[in-house]
Amino acid sequence: MLHIVACIKQVPDTKIIKMNPKTNTMDRASAPAILNPYDAHAVEEAVRLKKKYGGTVSVLTMGPPPAVKAIKKCIELGADEGYMISDRAFAGADTLATSYALTKALEKIAKHQPIDLVICGKMTIDGDTGQVGPGIARRLNIPPLTGVKKVVEINKEKGYAIVQRKLEDGYEVVKSTLPCLFTVEKEINDISFAPLPNMIKAARYQPTIWTADDLENVDRKQLGLKGSPTIVSKVWAPPKPEGGQLLEGTAQEQVNKLLSIIFEKKELFQ
């Protein structure tokens, strides 16, 4: 029986987020909060592994109270348990402080039931650093396997996992001891349709919520803004390019003009 924990984050849907052109800030209210798309694949994979090998799937998030919604979404996807850590003390965390707080929560979860595998998304769509997963792995002192695109085998008795890790021009097959941590690519699976019983369970589900005081052996200096070495000093809208010249005339004339422009780069066409 495996115990798999997927780490998930609620994020603004950056595809439709609007910018306030005057202040150069994001109008967060303009974008609905969603489960980070990569994390949906992390949960899906955890649930598939559970179906194949038996076990339980827990999900963990750090976030403000409305993030409960993201946990409910994971219950719909088939997770068994949800944990959330939520406290002002966690606010303003960079990736180092985020991985610290999540690791403390994972240690507490592991006391109930030891963890065999942690699965994170490849990255979020808001901070999009991809640094939290490897950070958790280092803190738990387990191997990080980033960019997993396929899980080949998990063998708890013999204590190993075999996965395919995506590379720039292909992939590699890696064997690791268990427990370990995966960060997953989107191509690892297609999200299944949530069955009705899961939807009903999710609607009623209340996750376990912990504050910083509920976690054990926490060094408060390592939490939130205080525990974050990086500082966002300035935020601005990316410079708008000036815009180009539109070619005029009939389609044929436009095409002829375009050709004379590209053929100016003679070296390309010799």
């Binding site: 990736t95 180092l96 640094q131 490897p134 070495p229 390019p241 070619l247 389609a251 436009q254 780069k265």
Partner: protein, 335 residues
């Protein structure tokens, strides 16, 4: 932590196919500027098996010093042994700044090490500067899907670390006679203690031109209408001897595979000519191609944002314009 103990700008030299990866050479170019401004030396860290001969390349591209960890245990990249080596090097020689390419390997290594040192790590940087007197690194990066740029600082920890996107910085032109100092380092690692093993490496080589290396990229978007319409993009690319690019929506629609996606979550390209055809010009797409030398957009909507990011534009129906273009090119370039 005494900041005066931390000196020098470092670049992690990623090795790919037995050579120093292009992004690392770009970082040596960027690092050289930072080192000169700060009046300090530029060093590279080279980890691998039989990699010592590569140090000379780093000198030719601007490094003053190269630290080398050469051992069979480093044959394949694995987080654990590489991290232990680089961590060892940082503790011994204390760099002020350490840069990595934002490649799968560079990001993996940097994230792990940042946790152990510990220090701050700025992700996917696209602009770098340094304060001459304090040595504070100003690393700027796109976030929130490219909707904003943010400058990230790490004031209280050293080294200051950043991963930097490939194809954004410029490598220096090589100076064949330039040399430097090689410092050989060792760390005792035993294979039996390693918790991961690479069983197999599979290269998915395509015969086609790699889009990040092509001089001409012809990219198509949802405006091509269908998978069949998208074939025009392939035909135009063939006629010009270029590579095919795509927007994310096209990839998601299954018209072409992910290797062709240009943009924030795809590849960054800087060809001599970039065509954006039936692509709206979302910021996430534009960040992946905006440094191309000549950008040409074809879109039927005169208000499409792509016209703000191109050098020349044609307002019109791609399904009409592209066939004309292919026909004319075939006349002009019979082979």
């Amino acid at each position: 932590m005494n900041f005066d103990d931390y000196r020098g700008i470092w670049v992690y030299l990623e090795v790919k196919d037995g050579k120093i990866a292009p992004v690392s050479l770009e970082l040596l170019g960027a690092g050289r500027k930072l080192a000169d401004k700060r009046g300090t030396e530029l060093a590279g860290v080279l980890i691998g098996s039989n990699v010592k001969p590569l140090a000379s390349t780093a000198f030719v591209y601007g490094a003053d010093v190269v630290y080398v960890y050469d051992d069979p245990i480093f044959e394949h990249y694995r987080t654990e042994p590489y991290m232990r080596a680089l961590h060892d090097c940082c503790q011994k020689h204390k760099p002020e700044v350490l840069l990595y390419g934002a490649t799968p390997t560079g990001k993996d290594l940097a994230s792990a090490i940042a946790t152990d040192l510990p220090t701050g790590l700025t992700a996917d940087t696209t602009m770098l500067d340094i304060e001459e007197d304090t040595g504070l690194l100003l690393a700027s990066r796109p976030a929130f899907g490219g909707n904003i740029m943010a400058t990230i600082l790490c004031k209280k920890y050293r080294p200051q670390m950043a991963t930097v996107r490939p194809k954004v910085m410029k490598a220096l032109s090589p100076q064949p006679n330039r040399t430097g100092k090689i410092v050989e380092e060792h760390i005792s690692l035993r294979e039996e203690e390693m918790r991961t093993k690479v069983l197999e490496v599979v290269r998915e080589t395509t015969k086609k031109v790699r889009i990040d290396e092509a001089d001409i990229v012809v990219a198509g978007g949802k405006g091509m209408g269908s998978k069949e319409g998208f074939q025009l993009i392939h035909q135009l690319a063939d006629a010009l001897g270029g590579a095919v690019g795509a927007s994310r929506d096209v990839v998601e629609a299954g018209w072409i595979d992910h290797h062709h996606q240009v943009g924030q979550t795809g590849v960054t390209v800087t060809p001599k000519i970039y065509f954006a055809i039936g692509i709206s010009g979302a910021i996430q797409h534009v960040v992946g191609m905006q440094n191309s030398e000549l950008i040409i957009a074809i879109n039927k909507d005169p208000n499409a944002p792509i016209f703000q990011s191109c050098h020349y534009g044609i307002v019109g129906d791609a399904l009409e314009i592209v066939p004309l273009l292919i026909e004319r090119i075939k006349e002009e370039l019979p082979n």
